[in-house]
């Protein structure tokens, strides 16, 4: 499934939509950036409440496909700007990380 299809299915709000629309491999849910760096895989979607530019930096470092910020947390301008300059897909959701992760799981992992 591609990033744009996934965003449409989850009903995500696009915060930064200028990205290469590639295949998403998996999801990863975490709010600790060290944990994301250590354990998230490239081309995964990060589900988090960390709404700041360091989350974008870690996403590019790991090679994540997209970041979804949950609970309608406001995204600071410098975070959106960082995502734009990295070409990282950045989305917002009013749902909790549990809900977004659950729906993502059924889309990506359900046998």
């Amino acid at each position: 499934m591609r990033i744009s299809e996934l965003a449409a299915s989850l009903g995500l709000e696009v915060a930064q939509g200028s990205y290469a629309d590639r295949e998403v491999s998996a999801g990863y849910s975490s709010d600790l950036l060290s944990d994301v760096m250590a354990n998230a895989k490239a081309d995964a979607v990060l589900v988090t409440v960390q709404a700041h530019k360091n989350a974008v930096a870690v996403a590019s470092l790991v090679g994540l496909a997209a970041v979804v910020v949950c609970n309608s947390r406001p995204l600071p301008d410098d975070m959106v700007e960082a995502a734009r300059s990295e070409g990282l897909a950045l989305f917002k959701s009013p749902e909790t990380a549990f809900e977004v992760s659950g729906r993502l799981w059924t889309m990506l992992r359900r046998p």
Binding site: L32, L33, S34, M37, A38, N54, P76
Partner: protein, 227 residues
């Protein structure tokens, strides 16, 4: 930014006292001590430690040996993230003349395998001045990671702006540069009333003089108007 550049800029921009606090490491403190001696500026030696919850805390020591000792204990707790210089730039230990002494192969910005409470207790037990860092920031702070400031052995808190009472627990709030780049050295300095001669004496007496000033609230952060 090298330790010698930090010492030079700190003096040039009018500071009387400067501390080096690299993330999770004191390895550049020996060079910093030498650089500050050459510049004729008083120095303290520290670490900005990153707890398992990703809360940053400043731990300041009067001597390089104490800082290195604390740092070597942290090294064993550092998450084993390999360091990729291609993506992050070189992570170096240097001497006072900016010669490279060592390339650290683990990412020093990673979190430590120790909780914020235990980290603060450990630093305090080693005689450090313990200051939870940028408590009002939306990342890497007690407010962003824990939601509140638990009671602990702190000497003060550091904040970007005047913090709400819940984030000070009645302790003095100081400002700080959190300088990662040369252009940020000396932004948001704080003033402290220290006894005559403390800056010249340096070392443990200076550390204790600063601790006393912090504990007594004889400090003025950058957001407060001069008296």
């Amino acid at each position: 930014m090298s330790p010698s550049l930090l010492a030079r800029l700190a003096r040039g921009r009018g500071l009387d006292l400067v501390a080096l606090t690299d993330h999770n490491s004191a390895l550049n403190c020996p060079a910093f001590e030498e650089a500050c001696r050459r510049e004729g500026i008083a120095a303290l030696f520290g670490i900005e430690a990153n707890s398992v919850e990703e809360v940053h805390v400043l731990c300041l020591f009067g001597s390089v040996a104490d800082a290195l000792d604390f740092g070597s204990g942290l090294r064993a707790l550092l998450a084993p993230l390999p360091y990729d210089p291609e993506k992050l730039g070189d992570q170096v230990v240097v001497d006072a003349d900016e010669g490279v002494v060592e390339l650290v192969d683990r990412y020093l910005g990673a979190s430590l395998d120790i909780g914020f409470g235990d980290l603060c207790e450990d630093a305090a037990a080693r005689g450090a001045i313990v200051i939870p860092a940028h408590v009002d920031r939306p990342m890497f702070s007690v407010s962003s990671q824990l939601g509140f400031l638990p009671t602990g052995p702190y000497d003060a808190v550091e904040s970007m702006r005047e913090p709400p009472a819940a984030l000070t627990l009645g302790l003095a709030a100081v400002s700080g540069s959190d300088a990662h780049y040369p252009e940020h050295v000396c932004r948001r300095p704080f003033a402290a009333e220290l006894p005559d001669g403390a800056l010249v004496e340096g070392g443990a007496p200076l550390l204790e003089a600063l601790r006393e000033a912090l504990r007594a609230g004889r400090v003025r952060p950058s957001w407060a108007a001069p008296p």
